[in-house]
């Protein structure tokens, strides 16, 4: 009579969570040397993996150096911007702000009464659809549209294969560990 062994895939529950196995499967594994041997082989290979992972890591050559005081690195340090490299950028930004302020300065008192938008709207007044479109042009997008145009980089993380253990996919949008995770 053909013996019904436990599905080899389900044997992995013996390692991940034995409670997920049916009572019948648990009973069978307890009595079946073949199924037990399969589980044992998998356990041994995992133990070898763990051992090899420790064995094939180089020795640490540098001791952890703790700073005198616990301070966050300054933004410039974090982005590796040297002082001299960031100064011209700041000057350029300031000049740009100045130019924009001059170009887009408020119109003079003599022109304040001139409404440049109203004539345009009134010109389209006979066309109710166009008038509605114009009035909505600057309105905020509803939430659902904002959600649709939200840019996430989730897919790009799938290219994480040059590293051995990339990001969990559920956490990609948030990026950092969250929910019940540690505050870090």
């Amino acid at each position: 009579m053909k013996e019904n062994h436990v599905d080899p895939r389900r044997l992995a529950w013996m390692i991940a969570d034995p409670d997920r196995l049916d009572p019948g499967e648990t009973r069978h594994i307890a009595q079946c040397p073949q199924c037990r041997a399969r589980v044992h082989e998998l356990e041994e290979d995992l133990a070898r993996l763990s051992l090899a992972a420790r064995r094939h890591v180089p020795d640490v050559t540098v001791r952890v150096r703790l700073p005198a005081t616990a301070t966050r690195p300054r933004v410039r340090d974090r982005f590796n911007l040297p002082v001299l490299a960031s100064a011209p950028a700041l000057a350029l930004a300031a000049a740009l702000v100045l130019v924009l302020t001059v170009v887009f300065r408020p119109v003079g008192p003599g022109l304040q009464d001139v409404n440049t938008v109203a004539p345009a709207l009134s010109a389209y007044a006979p066309d109710p659809e166009m008038a509605e479109a114009l009035s909505l042009a600057d309105a905020d997008l509803p939430g659902e549209y904002l959600d649709m145009v939200d840019i996430t980089d989730g897919d790009s993380f799938q290219e994480f294969f040059e590293f051995a253990a990339p990001l969990p996919e559920e956490d990609l949008t948030g990026g950092r560990l969250k929910k019940g995770g540690f505050p870090c």
Partner: protein, 194 residues
């Protein structure tokens, strides 16, 4: 690196360190730096990157120690910082490659592992890399934390902010992919005998 022998538990040391005892934190750093380095090396395969990140992890830990609610869970908390540090490292690296691509008009090339990596070590990590490709991102993170970094399921759940049940489900899937990775498993059997 040898950990300084002390009978103090991680929790005791973390409590003292949170109150400003730098020596206590130094002991914790000595105790955990090897494991954190190994964890980061398994993911970057570059000694310098792993050493820099290890340094970063302990600086972050020192800065945020006052936010650790359960000092007895210092170990998993430190690993969660390491996981985040590695993610940040990956993002920075990816951004650099994007800029490099735009600037040099070259195709992106994955950083090669260390040249000095021994042949046997390279064989091992190459096979682990093949397995990693077969796993989903979550399976990969969980499988590595559990079987490469040697953490318990409870610790993995704490580090990733997931339920133990969810961790076990992902682990089950990952185990079946590992089961089918005969090249790695055969190599491990040979490596164990050598």
């Amino acid at each position: 690196m040898q950990a300084i022998p002390t009978r103090d538990t991680d929790g005791d040391l973390a409590r003292r360190a949170a109150q400003g005892d730098r020596m206590a934190f130094g002991v914790l750093a000595d105790r955990f730096s090897g494991r954190i380095f190994a964890m980061l090396y398994a993911r970057t395969r570059r000694r310098m990157d792993a050493e820099d990140l290890t340094q970063e992890v302990f600086i972050r830990a020192l800065e945020k120690l006052h936010r650790l609610r359960e000092p007895d869970r210092f170990g998993p908390w430190l690993f969660s910082i390491a996981v985040n540090a590695h993610r940040d490292h990956w993002r920075r690296k990816k951004a650099t490659e994007v800029f490099s691509l735009a600037w040099r008009k070259k195709s992106p090339v994955a950083s090669p592992p260390e040249a000095e990596e021994k042949v046997v070590s390279r064989q091992f990590w190459d096979r682990v890399h093949v397995l990693a490709k077969r796993l989903s991102a979550t399976e990969r993170e969980i499988f590595f934390l559990r079987f490469v970094d040697d953490l318990s399921i409870r610790e993995v759940a704490e580090i990733l902010g997931k339920s133990e049940s969810a961790v076990k489900t992902h682990l089950y899937r990952a185990l079946n992919k590992f089961r089918g990775e005969t090249s790695l498993r055969d190599w491990l059997k040979g490596d164990g005998e050598s």
